[in-house]
Structure formats: C-alpha cells, structure tokens
Symmetry: C2
Subunit: 233 residues, 2 copies
Amino acid sequence: MAVLYLVPSPLSDGDWQNVLPAKVFRVLTTTGYFIVENIRTARRFLKLVNKNIDIDSLKFFVLNKHTEYSAAEGYLNPVVEGHDIALITEAGCPGIADPGAEIVRIAHKKNIKVVPISGPSSVILALMASGLNGQDFAFNGYLPIKHNERLKAISKLEEKAVRLKQTQIFIETPYRNDQMLKSLLKACSPVTMLCIAADLTGDNEFIATKTIEQWKREIPDLNKKPAIFLLGT
Amino acid sequence: MAVLYLVPSPLSDGDWQNVLPAKVFRVLTTTGYFIVENIRTARRFLKLVNKNIDIDSLKFFVLNKHTEYSAAEGYLNPVVEGHDIALITEAGCPGIADPGAEIVRIAHKKNIKVVPISGPSSVILALMASGLNGQDFAFNGYLPIKHNERLKAISKLEEKAVRLKQTQIFIETPYRNDQMLKSLLKACSPVTMLCIAADLTGDNEFIATKTIEQWKREIPDLNKKPAIFLLGT
C-alpha cells in the first residue's frame, strides 16, 4: 500500500547525515512524487541527499499558505493510485510551524497511511538543550509584533510558565530577534529562566539558559540568526 | 573544549539508522563517559550502534529520579577536565519526559557547552503525523490515574484545544491505554478530533486522526502498545 511520507529537512548547512537518519536517503530515492513548499530548495535538498538523483523524472506539487484546499486534495491522487508521496518541509519537521498539517489531515480523511520520519525539530532540540521542564511544555509559534502587545503576550507566557510549571516556547523571525530579547528583558521578572537557542545544528550553534538578570549583564547578538526562545522556572 | 552531548535513542526495535543520524555513531564511539538511566539498556544501545565498541573501557553514571543533586553535579566533572560526556535516554530525546533536564540545567550553571543531537521524539512524530495544529501545541505528560480526575483533566484539555486552537498532547503507560481511550470517548464532544499514535517507528506503527464519534464506531486495541494521544479541532 502506498503511503504519505513526512520527511524532515536540515535546519542548517552541512552534512545532512549529522541530523537526518539514513532512512531519508532510501525514502527520497524510491519516491517519485513530492509535496513541497518551494521547488527550488526541495530540489537542492534532494541533490544534497543523493547527488545522482534524476531530478527531471520527479513530480513536484507546491503546498504553501496560498494553496487551495481542492488543489491540496488532488496532490494525494498518486497515493490513491499506488505511488508513495513525500512531504518535505523547508526546514525541520513537516506540519510543525508550517503549512504541512493540512495535507496530513486530508490524508487521514482519505484513510491514507501516514509515515513520519524522525529528524531535527528546533522546538525539541532547544527544549532538550535548555534544561527547562520537558515534562510539560507549550509551543506558541510567533508572538505579536507590536511593542505593547508583545510585552503583554510575554507577561502572559511568563505567568503560565510559573503557575503551570510549563515551559513556554516561541520563535521570532531572525531580523526581529534583538527586539524580542529587549522585550523579554523588559517584561520578565529577574529570576525567570530564559533559554536562547540560536543557529541550532549549525556551525555557530549557541544555546544558553540563564536568569533574566544574568542575561541583562551580557546581551548576545542574535541579529539574523534563526533563534528559539524558552521561558521557564 | 569538551561538551555534554544529548543523544536520543530509538523508540522501537530495528535498525537504528531508520531513526538516528550517522552522527550518533561518531559521538558514541569517541566519547568515554556516559550518563544513563539504566546501564544495561545503555550498553545494549551502544552495542547496537557499534558492535565493535569496547564497553568495558567506558564509564557510566546512573541518573534517575533517585539521583541526588550533589551526585548529578559530580557526573559533569569529566567535562570540566576535558572529556566529552554523552547523556543517553531510555527512549527518545533526553530531557523530554525523563530525568535528563536536571543534568542539562547543571551544565548551563557550570557554563558547559551542551550539544543536542536530533533524533526520534514521540511528541513530534505524533504531532507531524496527526494533521492537527502544529503551530500551537502543548505536551502535558501523564494525566491523573483516578477515573473522575482523569475525566476532568480530559475535559479541561479539550476546552483548551478548542478555545486556544492549541493541540493538546499527552501519554499513558501502555497497560492503561484502553482505559484512557474509554475516558476520552466518554469525556469529549463527538466532533472533537483525536489522534492516536501507537508503536511509533515500530513494525506495527498505527497513526490515525478521527472525530470522537468516528472512534466510537471502531475502537482500536491499544493494550500494551506505547501510545500518545492528541486532542484538537
């Protein structure tokens, strides 16, 4: 029976075998149909994993926030006809903070078997490496951009982190990291723990967990580095 | 500079290269010190990854819920002296739903570099494969065991899932799965979405997302299978 594979991709440059299991090679070289966010980067990833791959023989469907439901539904026709399909994300795990979940939901409706492959998740890597509570945690995606709304959102997350002992995880676009850090240092109590994980799995990986008070003494430069933030106690 | 590696381990039997990157081989064969939950299973894992490994030359420290803080602190002495240490979990990612977080927290206090390796996380694999909201989700660990308290906890999670559009994830010990499923079918609204992911990455992997109403019509046998549950809308 044909299946929908969910294939993670690297978070940074470098050898894919540092972050992805060998199984990814097998899946990507025996699958002819791909659902991707961006064809150019998907082709580059396929070439990275198997430089002898015959890219021109492969069929790509583009899934992004502009894709209509009816089109997405059609993308799964090859599985129904007996061909495996792989969903590849731009970075990390499909369906986590990207538009992949919709296609998986359709697959379940059609009783198509879904097979997730393990790989790098910035949320999990950051949480593992934070030392903060990994028994109870929440991922909140992006916080509001406007200054006052952001401060309010941070205070709410901090309150939850303390009251529920639930680690609160969120992300920011790289060019806004420095503003995010300023807001965190302003909104949070000096004793709250903040973990910053930047450039995960990359050459300049930076992971540190400190109190807000400690961070204030030495503010790191996060500009343009993909980063993830965790608040805990 | 020596580092503390956080090394995931497989969730099921079978070829480790189906779920772990080749980097794990390199880390485990160049590291002489290990912090583990259980020495016997850690040795088995090391042999699985490298059958030629000289187990008797390796040094193991046991970290579990009975380990005292002062002992755990001492486990990191080899890093301070210039030797890499690897923290290995029983299954999945260290620090996520296991006692590993404490040692990582101590490492940050001592300014020891922490390097997480990517690998299988049942939380992320289940969420990817569920088709439920992966932009906002919470992992809640175990729910209460007592019948009435569990029903209350489930209702509260369902309410959160709906109100916040936040996928609610939780686990159960395998022999209580069937009771958990009964409680879910009793407590939740017929239109709530429930994903059940059992035996992830294993030969009998089972992942399905349906409404509570649909699940009631065909109740799966989850007895003794490691499973993870997700509520969403």
